[in-house]
């Protein structure tokens, strides 16, 4: 297989676009939340400033190599996810480094960051971090289960593991989207999406009140800035997968922006008015609602 080296700078271009779009969208979501609370909200460029500020802090404390690697793993999870999934269907520039079987790789990247984060935060030795990790891992593994089931269902449905092929199969009008051809899988995946976005009602992991922000308690300065960068990339990257698998992908940047925004809004709208579940409650919720949907979707296919 001959590899086209030109793809690498193009992939980085994608990352660049997505980072900026992610910053914009995060701010937009925060602004929407503020407007629901009758506030004006943050300036739209606030997140850039926060990030520069955090990179610009003079001191930082480390708790060992793994503590440092935590955010790095997390960031590489986000970037990797983005790099190996085609963001624009049919575009040579923005199909990134995708190849056959990349669905498995993408799934791997989805989990990769979380695990790295857990290891890194545990290194800090802070009890809040430890509690946050136990909550986080148990909830994430539960929340990702329906997603995994839905992905299998989709893979079975299209008889391929290549994201590009799945997107290709969905071209041809809205009704060919997985959303309509396999609604069970999509609903299972969307419920799982809620759980993995770390927004209420499933954000007890990073809850400020229940435990001060969980795993990232000890992260600060540049570590935090790395994590902030990831926090803007990762949701977009994840939404790209969702979009490709279930919503027909995107053939141009405007379509991409619109679809990502709408999918993001789904979690934001739910999140803004809901309180949080406890961990065992959210696990039960996923077991009762999302997992059966996922299983059902596989059986239907």
């Amino acid at each position: 297989m001959d590899f086209d080296w030109m793809k690498i700078p193009y992939a980085f271009l994608t990352v660049f676009i997505v980072v900026n779009y992610g910053f914009l969208m995060t701010a937009l979501i925060q602004k929407i939340g503020a407007r629901v609370g009758r506030r004006y909200g943050i300036p739209i460029w606030q997140n850039y400033l926060d990030m520069i500020k955090n990179y610009g802090l003079r001191s930082s404390i480390t708790h060992g190599a793994m503590f440092y690697l935590g955010p790095v793993f997390r960031l590489s999870g986000g970037v990797g996810l983005l790099l190996f999934v085609p963001s624009i269907y049919g575009s040579y520039m923005f199909s990134n480094l995708s190849f056959a079987g990349d669905l498995i790789l993408a799934l791997y990247f989805v989990f990769f960051g979380t695990l790295g984060m857990a290891l890194g935060a545990a290194e800090s030795g802070h009890p809040h971090a430890a509690i946050g990790i136990t909550r986080g891992l148990s909830q994430v593994s539960m929340a990702e289960l329906p997603f995994g089931l839905a992905v299998f269902s989709v893979a079975l449905q299209y008889q391929t593991l290549s994201v590009t092929d799945i997107v290709a199969a969905q071209q041809g009008g809205m009704l060919t989207w997985t959303l309509f051809t396999n609604p069970l899988a999509v609903s299972a995946a969307m419920l799982s999406f809620l759980g993995s976005m770390m927004r209420p009602p499933f954000d007890v992991v990073i809850a400020p009140q229940e435990i001060p922000i969980g795993p990232p308690t000890e992260y600060h300065s540049s570590y935090l800035a790395l994590m902030q960068t990831n926090r803007v990339i990762f949701p977009v990257a994840k939404i790209v997968i969702y979009m490709n698998l279930f919503f027909g992908g995107a053939t141009s940047w405007p379509e991409f922006f619109l679809k990502v925004f709408l999918i993001y809004m789904w979690s934001a709208f739910v999140g803004v008015v809901f309180p949080r579940f406890r961990v065992e409650q959210s696990i039960r919720w996923f077991l009762v609602w999302a997992v059966p949907l996922g299983v059902l979707s596989i059986m239907v296919v």
Binding site: G33, V36, G37, R38, R39, P127, H128, I131, T134, R135, P200, P201, D203, V204, A207, P208, Q209, E210, I211, P212, V272, V273, F274, P275, R276, F277, R278, V279, E280, Q281
Partner: protein
């Protein structure tokens, strides 16, 4: 040690001979966790020392004293009128009860009688303060479960109420308005109309809060059946106010020991049945509506002229004969009381403030916190509606 309700610790650490728990922290089975003082999930500047086993709390100890300023000592070396500006600082979110209780206690011991109109204005201020305090609570209760938007809405209407306070007294938080002998001023022009607008806004926000918070499935899942206060504990732990009313006991000092103009106002204490966090929140929400109604009644019935202050002796040489008294009022958390002892000099001999949080946050919380999940500690603590400054003063 005699314990009327031994906590259910069947699967938890064994007890030692002296009744304390046999917790071996080095065994790795237990973890000591401090919630507070620097913690968003704590009501103000206090802390709870939790011993957890897995995700469950085995033992909790409340630690207070972070806000101790020694008011009771400071007041002993201030004249009666010098005490007046500092009493309101004892309880920050609802300062007016300090002013009222202190003023009433001084009046009683000095044998002076505040005029009728002052009573009406005092009642009005107390009810306005109660709404403020409840609004803080509703926001805090939702916030402790991650529903930040409720806090935004309720703080918004609380700001409106603070505007009314500012009109009336000239200050947002510390009003220093109810002084021994009466009140400082009457209502400004057009106050009734603006008050009515504020009350309407409060009602409309409360309706939104009801829809978003009380009808929310997640909120119910977190709070229904959580943190139950057994009605039998009420006397043992000195539980008063909405915490007691949510347990089905209509303990309301406004009815039990009527003061000010409450005998002339028509209202019924709000009670609940289930005594869990949800019921306590609901009782408080309905109590706001009662207060709104009371303010409307007060505005309608209030005499618009008449004296605001009675004749008070020269406050610089004001000596009060020896005596002791206890004045109480129903604040938003429960029974607020001042125990004042005078000895014939120009200074109080002793002032003791009975804040309702004193019993709620200490003995009761330590009793209730056992066997709940760490994630519920914040919600439980907020649901008792405790304000640390009135515990340690």
């Amino acid at each position: 040690m005699y314990q009327p309700f031994p906590p259910d610790r069947s699967q938890y650490p064994a007890k030692k001979a002296d009744g304390t728990l046999d917790i071996d922290l080095t065994s790795g089975k237990y973890l000591k966790l401090w919630q507070g003082p620097n913690h968003p999930g704590i009501t103000g500047n206090m802390s709870v020392e939790l011993t957890v086993c897995g995700d469950e709390v085995v033992e909790g100890k409340t630690h207070v004293g972070y806000l101790h300023r020694g008011f009771e000592k400071l007041m002993e070396r201030r004249t009666f009128i010098q005490c007046f500006p500092i009493v309101c600082r004892i309880c920050v979110p609802e300062p007016d009860f300090n002013e009222y209780c202190y003023a009433a206690a001084v009046e009683e011991l000095a044998g002076i009688q505040a005029p009728e109109r002052a009573h009406w204005i005092r009642t009005l201020i107390l009810e306005m303060g109660r709404i403020n305090s409840y609004m803080m609570y509703l926001g805090g209760q939702a916030g402790s479960l991650g529903q930040g938007v409720i806090g935004q809405w309720t703080t918004y209407v609380r700001d409106l109420m603070l505007d009314r306070f500012e009109e009336l007294t000239g200050a947002r938080i510390y009003h220093m308005f109810i002084l021994p002998g009466g009140v400082r001023d009457g209502l400004p022009d057009g106050f009734a109309g603006r008050m009515e607008e504020t009350l309407r806004e409060i009602e409309s926000i409360l309706k939104d809060v009801y829809d978003v918070m009380f009808c929310n499935a997640v909120f119910k899942a977190r709070t229904v059946g959580m943190g139950v206060i057994d009605p039998a504990w009420l006397d043992e732990y000195g539980v008063t106010g909405p915490n007691a009313r949510a347990a089905g006991v209509a303990k309301d000092m406004r009815k039990d020991h009527p003061y000010l103009v409450y005998p002339e106002l028509a209202f019924e204490p709000v009670t609940g049945k289930d005594s869990d966090i949800y019921t306590r929140a609901d009782v408080r929400r309905r109590d706001v509506l009662v207060s709104v109604d009371l303010i409307r009644q007060i505005m309608a019935k209030m005499p618009m002229d008449g004296p605001l202050m009675c004749a008070v002796p020269n406050v610089l040489h004001w000596k009060i004969p020896r005596g002791e008294t206890y004045i109480r009022g129903e604040c938003s958390r429960g029974e607020y009381g001042y125990y004042l002892v005078t000895d014939g000099s120009g200074y109080p001999r002793r002032v003791n403030v009975r804040g309702p949080s004193y019993t709620h946050a200490m003995a009761l919380l330590e009793r209730m916190i056992v066997n709940i999940s760490i994630s519920d500690v914040a919600a439980l603590m907020v649901s008792l509606h405790t304000y640390p400054p009135e515990i340690e003063r």
